[in-house]
Every structure is written in structure tokens, then in C-alpha cells.
Symmetry: C2
Subunit: 433 residues, 2 copies
């Protein structure tokens, strides 16, 4: 089954707004075993909308149209679509009544422009919007369903999952199974992973592997398709095991798992507590960890020690060490991790200090120099890294590598090397950082 | 001039990768006064590529094609395009030589699949790629330029700006001016802004206003078009002044400015120092502030006080206050701001404490309850907010509102009200939060 996607709005063709709906919708459709024939974005222009509808109907078995159902004058989708198919418009009284009740319930004054959201093409099946005011609708042209939903991302997403997919499944009938598994890899470049995978047999029927770089990590997506669901599942499992056998050392999670989520689970499961001292990462490590619900169970404190005085005050790093070795040094990083662990009374202390850029580099310690230290009851490990990104990306990769260092320590994979110049990590991980 | 955009890749039509190139390209083209006729995304399929090329050539004066120029087997764009227009392919020796030299220069072993990046359709003008290995190229069909560039975002962006736009300007000739100004608004909902703007005269020739919600803020974009650049500029200025006259209280920046950048500039310009104590925001405030180069000039320290013990240790909040009023309370927030300011020895102390969710709410203090406190030499202000988002968004809006509270204090706009229940802010800002 081929599905066409059309997103409508001048904000999309002018580059003002990044369309994320069509990507989300494509992922949903793909997971059902349907193919997206094409995605089109056109402006709020009746001619452009009609041209796109005609093209997409020619190459698709069904169409999903998103955007332009709101109350303002530039919301022209309903009128455009009705015009394109020669349908008249009507106001749906029950929808209008619900709309007004909704406004009253939220104590928002009713304005007449909102009545526009109760207007539909004749013969449309109205689709409920569980997350907003503008309903969607479904038409049929030449036996092909055309489903129209709002463009507000939170609304579009819920309606895709709860309304559009079930409706399409009902209209389009049964389908091939496509199973997916995402493997999350950190510390290997894309080309290095490609090279490693070329050494193993991944020639498994119906199985494909995709590379999806998500800085600073790479997501590998295995897809397995087939009409026999059990066989597709087995094939997926075989591919996953072979990949894990080759680069397992650099796999930190699967599917929806995040690095911070994995670290949080490892800490929580073992009842361990953590304190974090951040200089160059500026709070990003604790920001990520506190995105995980229940992080108060393990996170005792974080300190962002931007000034030397704060490193002395909050971590007990002697001013003489900072003066002698610099705030960005192995010595300072080690004392930061040990200090925050001691003062927080936690099982583990994690610390970063570095030069995120764009200024502040020296010949000996150029921009991108970062020290990460990890202290536990067993000792303290410190590693020096040299990154080569902009300020934000240097922060992001430093936070990720600190979390990964902790993850490896918690899973027994970390050597407690007091190394200061290694840009590499372990045997398999000879990437460029 | 109408330009069509085509992005190619199974990763786009399967929803694996979010296409950001076409949005960037559309913005660049729009700024030149060109119209994007349609954006299309199709998979790595020769038939789909041909169909899309034909459609877009029918509605456009020029085409930009992105993606699928890399070395791997799924990079089929060059072959597809040559096939679609009946052109043969050849290996360009100078490009091949440069490619090999580049690999040698980076000490990366040469593999034969990379030679694919030196293959072009006969007659193509080769476009240099300053940021990567895959060159672009330009063909002409029926007098219409077709420009093909790689899909790697960093490469696509540089090539758009440095290669594609100048080439199109040369091929397509002169154009109308479009000037833009982005006004960044916080604390007003979209509908509230709409209502405020309906009260002023924005009926200015060639001027349009667009709303672009970027949670937790709204960006208003004024566009002014015309062949007379000076008049377009004047019209833009008039619109900007009228909008600022109406909702100026809630405008925190313009164009590329960010809330953290504005706050950083205000602090740096006045030589003021800041210490931040975060509970529910988990380090997000200092993460944002340290994204600004030079933030070490004003940021003395940040503390992420997730445990009650850390609030006592790092901020001097008496345990009895936490016990009596709770960690999430006006009393604790005020003492956090005062404590971090005192212990950091800074001019200003900023603090957040709240319940980000999904758990931890009570009837009196439901999920989304957040207290923000600001302490300076003049006293301490504290406000209570009630948000209604998910955990991440509650963190984001709390961090933004804390930074905005500081911004307002620094620009003289903050009343030092010790209010605890106001969900609103000032006269103009009666939004829902």
C-alpha cells in the first residue's frame, strides 16, 4: 500500500517552520508495513494544493493531509480541498456546540473566527481531535481515502496514532509485517561501524540495516519484513545478536532508551547515589539525568563550578592545584570528582572540566580539550579527550562521554586507567574521538 | 521565480530521519525573494525520483535536489537523475584525484566505494563541496537549472549558501527584496498575541506577520517585500514599532537572539555576577547560560540541589524550613536564591524549586507547581507558577521563566512582589500561565 503525505502551510515553504509531522507520520505508516510514496509540502495556495493532491493521488492508494485547519485566515486547507474536489462546505452543528463548550470549560472567551473549525466538506467523516480544537476529516475520491488532520505537532501525532492509522488499516486491509529494532551506538564513527558490520554476515532474508547519526551517537535500525511474523521476528533477533557480538562494547541502549535513562536505571537498580561536578558541560549532565522521572532517587547534587572560587568552595579543590596545573587538567578533574563525591556523601562522583570554545584554548590545551573523571569507592579514573566541534557540540559530546564512562563503570566495562592522553576507548573503539 | 525542492532517501519516507535541509533551503530561497513551489521527499527509487522531477519541473523555474550522493550502495541520486534525463555517466579524474588526496590528508584508508563520488552525468557543472567529500553538480533541462547537492546537513547548508544561491542568482536574474525581522515573545499565548495585534494597524503595504510557536516562546516574523529596498525597510520598521508599542513588555529579543544570550549580555554589560540554585530545572538554566561564549564572566556557580541535604549544605537553607513548608515552597525558594547569592558572593541569586512530574504532586501542590525566586541587593522576589506540560516541558518553561524574571529585573521591568499565587505576569500578560 502506498500512502502520500501532503503538508500545507506558507511557514513550511518559506522555511519558517520545520515540518516534523510528515516524518512522524512516515515512521508510523512504515511501522505498519505501508510505503510512503512521496511527501509533499506546499504553501497556502489553492492551485498548489490542487496540483499536489492530483500528483499524490496518482501515485498513492491513500492520502494524509496535514495543516491549515485552525481558526485564522491563513488556514485554508478545508476550503482548498473542498474546492479541489468540487465539494460544498457546511457548518457541523454538534462540532460547533462542542467547540463552544470547550472554550467555556477552559474559561477562554469565544471569538467568531473559531467557528471556522466547525466547517467541513459535504460528505466528510469527521475525526475527533483528542488534543485540540480543530477536528480532522476523511473523504473518499476514486475509492481512495483522503484523511485531513491539523498540523499542530502534538495534535497531529495523537491523531495519527489514535485516528488515522486505525482508519487506514480498516480501509486498506491487511498487510506485511515490518519489525524494527534500534541499536544505539556511541564512540564509533559511522564508517567504522560500517566496516565492522562488513565483517559479519547480515545477509538475512527480509532484513535491512540503516545508519542514523544522532550526534553524538549513531542509531542503527534493523528492519525485518515478511508475511510470517514469527520468522520476521527471528530474523530480526539473529541480526541484532550478530551486531551486538561485533560492536556490543559500544552499544549503550535499544529502541527508546537514552544514555541518561540507561545510567539512571543502572544507578537505581543498585541503589547507588551520584553527585556531579560540571565545568565545561555547564549543567547539561544533570539536566539530562533529571529528565528521567525518579532521578531524585540517585542524584544527590550537581554543582556547576564555573569560577575557580567555586571549585575551591564547593569541591575542596586546593587553589594551589588549580594554580599549578590549571582548571582544565587531570589533577583538577580528579579532585573535582573526588570532592563532589566526598561532600555529597555519595557512592559515585562524576566531573568534567574542559574548554568548550570558541575562545580559551592554548597550544598545549586547545579548544575541545576535556577531562572527565569518575570517582568511586574503588578509586578514581580520569580521561582526556580532544573534540573538534563547536561550543554546543563540545558540551554535548562531553556530557555523553561522561555518562557513558559512568555506564561502563556500572556494567563492569571500565578500566580504572588514570590515563591522560588517550583519545581512544578500548579495543573496538578506535574512532576519531 | 518558483523553485522546487526534492529530497531523496528511504530514511526520509520511512520517518527514520527528520529532513531539515529542505526547511533550511526554503528559508534561504525565501530570503532571496524566490518562492518555493513545492517540497517533495521520495525514497531511493528511480521511478519515484523521475515522477517527482517531472512534477517539480512542471511547477518550477529551477530545481534543487538534495541527498544520496554518498559512497554507499543506497546513494542512487546521480544515477537516477542521469537516467531520468537520458544522460550517461563518467568519472571525473580531477575530482577523483582530489578525493584520494583528501583521504590521504586525513589519514583515512581509501576504499573503492568512495570512487563513486567522482561520477557525474555528462555535461554537468561540478559544484565544490567545502565541507565534505561528495561534490554537487548542476544540469540544465528545458532551460531550467537542476542543482544537486549532498544531504549531509552541514554540507547541504554550506553549499546552499556558498554555491547554490549565487548560482541561482546568476541563472535566474534579479529579484524582489524581502526583508525579515523576528520578534521573540514570551509569556503570551498565540491567540492572545493575535488579539493584541488586531487592535493595532498592521495594514502596511507589502508587510506580513507570521506566528511561529517555539515552545515555550512564540516567534513573530514580520516580512516586508517590495522592489524598493528603502521603502520595504521603512515599512518593516513601522510594523516592528507598532508591535513593540503594543506587546513590548513581553518581547525579550529579536532575530537570532536567545533568552540566555540576552540575559548574558545584560549581566556582562553591567559587570554583574550570578549564582543559580536549581531543583526542578536540574541544571537546564546553567546549561543554557553556558551555551553563551564568555559566560564565565558572570556565572560564578550553579548548584543542582536535588536532595534536601544538598539544599542545607550548599545553600544554607535550614532543614526546619524545608520540613515545615516543604522543599517546593515559597519559603524554600527564597532561601535558595538568597543562599546561593550569599555563598557565591554574587550580585544576583536565582533559584527554582518545583514538581516537574509525572509523579510527586499533591492536591495543594500539583505536578507543574514551580516557585522561582530572584535575590539581589534590593531584596528577593518569588513567584509561584502552575504549568500543565510533561516533565521536559515543565523544565523548559520553568528555566525560561526564571531567565525572563532575571531579564525583567535587569531591564527594570520587575516588580519585587513577594507574590505566591499569581499565575499571571503584569498587565499585558494574562496568558494561561
Amino acid at each position: 500500500m502506498n500512502i502520500g503525505l501532503l503538508v500545507i502551510g506558507n511557514e513550511l515553504t518559506s522555511g519558517m517552520t520545520q515540518d516534523t509531522n510528515s516524518s512522524f507520520a512516515a515512521g508510523q505508516l512504515n511501522a505498519q508495513g505501508w510505503i510512503v510514496s512521496a511527501v509533499m509540502a506546499v504553501g497556502d495556495d489553492a492551485g498548489a494544493v490542487k496540483g499536489a493532491l492530483d500528483y499524490l493521488l496518482g501515485v498513492s492508494d491513500a492520502l494524509i493531509v496535514m495543516g491549515g485547519l485552525g481558526p485564522t485566515v491563513d488556514d485554508i486547507t478545508t476550503a482548498c480541498i473542498a474546492g479541489a474536489f468540487g465539494l460544498s462546505l457546511y457548518t457541523d452543528r454538534p462540532v460547533l456546540k462542542r467547540l463552544k463548550a470547550r472554550f467555556a470549560g477552559f474559561n477562554i472567551p469565544w471569538t467568531e473566527n473559531n467557528a471556522k473549525q466547525a466547517i467541513f466538506p459535504e460528505g466528510a467523516l469527521i475525526l475527533n481531535n483528542p488534543a485540540g480544537t480543530a477536528c480532522g476529516f476523511c473523504l473518499e475520491q476514486s475509492g481512495k481515502p483522503i484523511i485531513v488532520i491539523p498540523g499542530v505537532p502534538a495534535e497531529a501525532r495523537r491523531m495519527m496514532v489514535e485516528g488515522v492509522i486505525p482508519l487506514l488499516a480498516e480501509r486498506l486491509g491487511s498487510r506485511e509485517q515490518i519489525l524494527k529494532r534500534t541499536i544505539k551506538v556511541f564512540r564509533l564513527t559511522e564508517s567504522r561501524i560500517d566496516q565492522e558490520l562488513s565483517e559479519i554476515d547480515l545477509n538475512i532474508p527480509g532484513v535491512g540495516i540503516g545508519f542514523y547519526p544522532r550526534f553524538p551517537q549513531i542509531n542503527l535500525v534493523i528492519t525485518s519484513r515478511g508475511t510470517d511474523a514469527a520468522m520476521a521476528k527471528d530474523n530480526l533477533k539473529v541480526a541484532e545478536q550478530r551486531i551486538a557480538g561485533r560492536i556490543g562494547d559500544c552499544i549503550f541502549g535499544y529502541d527508546d532508551e537514552t544514555m541518561e535513562g540507561v545510567v539512571a536505571r543502572l544507578l537505581t537498580d543498585r541503589g547507588l547515589t551520584l553527585a556531579v561536578a560540571e565545568s565545561c558541560t555547564g549543567g547539561l549532565i544533570t539536566d539530562r539525568l533529571t529528565d528521567v522521572p525518579g532521578s531524585s532517587l540517585f542524584l544527590e547534587r550537581g554543582v556547576v563550578v564555573y569560577s575557580n572560587a567555586s571549585k575551591v568552595d564547593l569541591l575542596g579543590v586546593p587553589a594551589s592545584v588549580i594554580e599549578k596545573h590549571g582548571a582544565v587538567s587531570k589533577e583538577t578533574a580528579v579532585l573535582m570528582a573526588e570532592g563532589v563525591r566526598r561532600l555529597g556523601g555519595t557512592d559515585i562522583g562524576l566531573a568534567t572540566t574542559g574548554i568548550a570554545g570558541p575562545a580559551g584554548g592554548t597550544e598545549e590545551k586547545p579548544v575541545g580539550t576535556v577531562f572527565v573523571a569518575l570517582s568511586s569507592g574503588e578509586g578514581t579514573a580520569c580521561r582526556r579527550y580532544q573534540f573538534r566541534w563547536d561550543r554546543r557540540r563540545n558540551k554535548e559530546i562531553s556530557a555523553q562521554i561522561a555518562l557513558d564512562m559512568l555506564r561502563r563503570a556500572l556494567t563492569g566495562g571500565m578500566e580504572t586507567i588514570d590515563g591522560t592522553t588517550s583519545a581512544y576507548y578500548g579495543k573496538i573503539c578506535r574512532s576519531s574521538w
